[in-house]
Subunit: 491 residues, 2 copies
């Protein structure tokens, strides 16, 4: 990854989170060189440092998909406009956001194309041609690529008109199999977020009004950002037979009768990078979990002109030893910028561990080590720094997950009255409350508090085993769902 070579005076200072979290976010994304604004309305440029994170996520996903029997395909980016209208709820959900191609060369198209906002429709169309018998099922497909949905206000990674994902699409013989797949992929996302990104996320089912356009059930993982807002970090949909009926995805069953397939779709998008930033970052900038960091260690040779060669060589040797231990490492040899500049730059960019090595350290056989999440530097024998590095990175990874988990639990309040509800939301918390399940009540709560249902958690993880029964915090009517619903303001 390139870093600023000093040609532009880097400005490290970012607005403190407590002053304006939104400004903090926007400044960090640009100053850490993750992404930039583009001349295309609502679209971003993902820069090398951001791309390195996304590529790591993408490869992890593709490898996992392959491991679990899923197959990659590439479907066209364009979709005939009339496909979008075949599933009634689907078109209603997406119509306002569609980028429409009406010309090719000088030819005006009779039937326009839209740039895919998601690919259920065109995949359904192809499946209908490929599917004959129950023996052909399941179809376990995914596609990595870009999708397009107009956004009113751009926010890098979080709300961009073009974003990136791996969209999974599967078709099954039975409801049970499709539902099992839906939940399996939800669990996979949950584990990925927890183990790779140090993001504690809550698995749950969405209420009816928050479902994907065309789904029978939508499941989500929800993460809490440092400002207490929720970010829907991934979804998995059981689509029932809605799309298979719309696109004639049918097969001859074991009973010799014709059946419509049960289908699913699921995705995590480049928006998850926003979750990493907003869950772990602090007033110095990014704090990247070691398992996803493009560089896990940066080495700054503390050199003067007269000994630069020697110190660079020492730094390279140290880097080679760390690489041999399987660690991603970068040596910062920029000239014309101070060491202080470099320290601040790498803290802003969230590299988990910095090592400083100077002439005096060299004589003494030590290096200076600074964890991104610590205040103090440590002086360690060189060999120990190398041998203990993986363990150090693991500890930082664990620390970030624990810190985010504690924060989520501390900032989630269980309430039984609407007064408490409003006060907690106003204080930037998530709320666990019973709800009657009425769409209008949900809409009214959203209007009054700006909080929406996040999901109905599937299990007792983080919040303990669910209590049963209760009355609606808003209407006083009997609670639906048999357990508390999670509410919060959202991105």
């Amino acid at each position: 990854m390139s870093e600023s070579k000093g040609g532009k005076a880097a400005q490290f200072g970012v607005t403190p989170q407590s002053v304006d979290f939104n400004d903090w976010y926007n400044e960090v994304v640009v100053k850490a060189d993750l992404a930039d604004y583009s001349p295309v309305k609502g679209c971003m440029v993902v820069k090398p440092y951001g791309y390195a994170i996304w590529e790591r996520i993408n490869r992890w996903m593709e490898d996992k998909f392959r491991e679990t029997g899923h197959e990659g395909l590439l479907f066209p980016t364009l979709i005939p406009l009339n496909f979008m209208t075949k599933e009634a709820e689907h078109v209603e959900g997406f119509a306002p956001e569609l980028f429409t191609v009406t010309r090719i060369g000088t030819e005006v198209l009779e039937e326009p194309y839209v740039m895919r906002p998601t690919s259920e429709t065109i995949i359904g169309h192809m499946w209908a041609q490929w599917l004959n018998s129950y023996r052909d099922l399941p179809f376990l497909h995914y596609q990595s690529g870009a999708v397009f949905r107009a956004e009113l206000r751009t926010k890098l990674f979080l709300r961009t008109a073009e974003f990136y994902w791996q969209e999974g699409h599967t078709a099954h013989e039975t409801r049970e199999e499709a539902m099992a797949e839906t939940l399996q992929q939800l669990d996979m996302y949950h584990a990925f977020c927890r183990d790779e990104l140090a993001l504690p996320v809550i698995r749950g089912v969405k209420t009816a009004s928050e479902r994907f356009a065309g789904a029978v059930e939508t499941f989500s993982i929800e993460g809490m950002m440092r400002d207490g807002k929720a970010l829907q970090s991934g979804t998995s949909h059981y689509l029932g037979q809605n799309f298979s009926r719309a696109f004639e995805v049918k097969f001859q069953g074991r009973d010799q009768q014709e059946h419509y397939a049960h289908t699913t779709s699921w995705a995590i998008s480049s928006r998850i990078i926003g979750a990493i930033i907003m869950t772990h970052g602090d007033d110095k900038g990014l704090m990247l979990p070691p398992r996803i960091a493009p560089y896990q260690v940066v080495i700054v040779p503390v050199a003067r002109k007269e000994n630069a060669e020697q110190m660079y060589a020492e730094a390279d040797r140290l880097a080679a030893d760390l690489k041999a231990a399987g660690i991603r490492v970068k040596v910062d040899k920029r000239e014309g910028v101070s060491n202080g500049f470099k320290y601040n730059d790498w803290e802003l960019r969230g590299v988990p561990v910095r090592i400083e090595i100077g002439p005096r350290d060299l004589e003494q056989g030590v290096v200076v080590v600074k964890n991104r999440n610590a205040e103090e530097k440590e002086t360690l024998p060189r060999a120990e720094a190398v041998a203990g590095m993986q363990q150090r990175l693991d500890a930082i990874q664990a620390y970030l997950l624990q810190r985010a988990t504690d924060f989520l639990i501390e900032n989630t309040v269980t309430v039984d009255t609407y007064e408490e509800f409003k006060a907690a939301i106003e204080a930037g918390k998530w709320v666990r409350a019973f709800h009657c399940g009425d769409r209008e009540s949900e809409a009214q709560i959203a209007e009054e508090t700006k909080a929406k249902t996040r999901n109905i958690p599937l299990d007792g993880e983080l919040f303990g085993e669910p209590e049963e029964g209760g009355v609606c915090v808003h209407t006083g009517r009997p609670a639906a769902y048999g357990k508390r619903v999670l509410f919060g303001r959202q991105y």
Copy 2:
């Protein structure tokens, strides 16, 4: 990768190459399950077996780019239409092929967007914002993704309106550095084709009339297909300062003066899969080079109902042993289809080695091995089959390269008269001839023979050291370029 589960009666027969090469190609692509036609004009669906090949190519490229200091980014898919017109030759080249977005939701755009046919323009725009000093250079960037160029006649992988590539874009301080980069990447493509895909390709510089729209020099690698036609398999362009002037990509130089950057671009696209098919395939179907094959070995357990369990378990054990040896292997456990069906299916799909294992083989501790490129089966001790597999695959890889190289040399003719030229082209050969360099002469030759200049080979590889001087095979005028030019009909 899924394979037909017998729900559709697979039809293995393909039109022989000698009867109709075009039909052969179209049938092989679809029957081997590499790709399918889509409901979007000119666009294909890449199916799992084709995607597995593309993913392998893509990862190889991304890893190589990283190794050589190049950085991945993601630029928007859309480009403001007015960007395309800033470089005069560029817009002329691409205008007839542009997919144009004129609406977002219900909003009609004042300034339309085009779906990128290539990204020099938008990257130039961003570089202008990122570049200040010579210290910021070089920019060594690439982007993996889809591009869009309308095609009159669709041919899967070869001519599709949407295709896939990694486009490289670099900016340099000097012409020399940019030219070195251009040639370095050309050499990298050449080595990739030779070593990974077993494709012998000829490196050379394009004549002026065959240059990329906006380039100062275009270099290409050209491969010969089994029908004698040429396929341009990759290009690398030195763009001079054309795009940097159009987009104000300038920097303060070492001399404190302002300079425009020298830029390059280069790409290999998904069309290379067409080259693999048409270079190595035969009348039975695909023949995949082992290094790129999704499965290098397929195991067919020769089982009856009563011993199926046992034979499947044996096949799995054999597969595990091969996997442990680093080999990509598939066990074909499809039921309801004959062994003959499976043999034909995997030959059609070009898997380099098939192993059959039956109850009698098991008793005797042997397996039956069949190379895709051999007529005869071999019976080998099981242990020997495993231990020798990598060497066998390497031999197949070498065989394919040698066969293709021999074919290319045999079917390239050196001529000095236009009569010989026409006869050779008519016979489906490539021609090496002197040419005067006149554009009109080139155009006339193309009209009369359907052969165009492929490139002017950079070195004597395959054809021996270049002769100097000579007169133009078409006009009799003094030859340009100082060596022979390669001509051939093309895809």
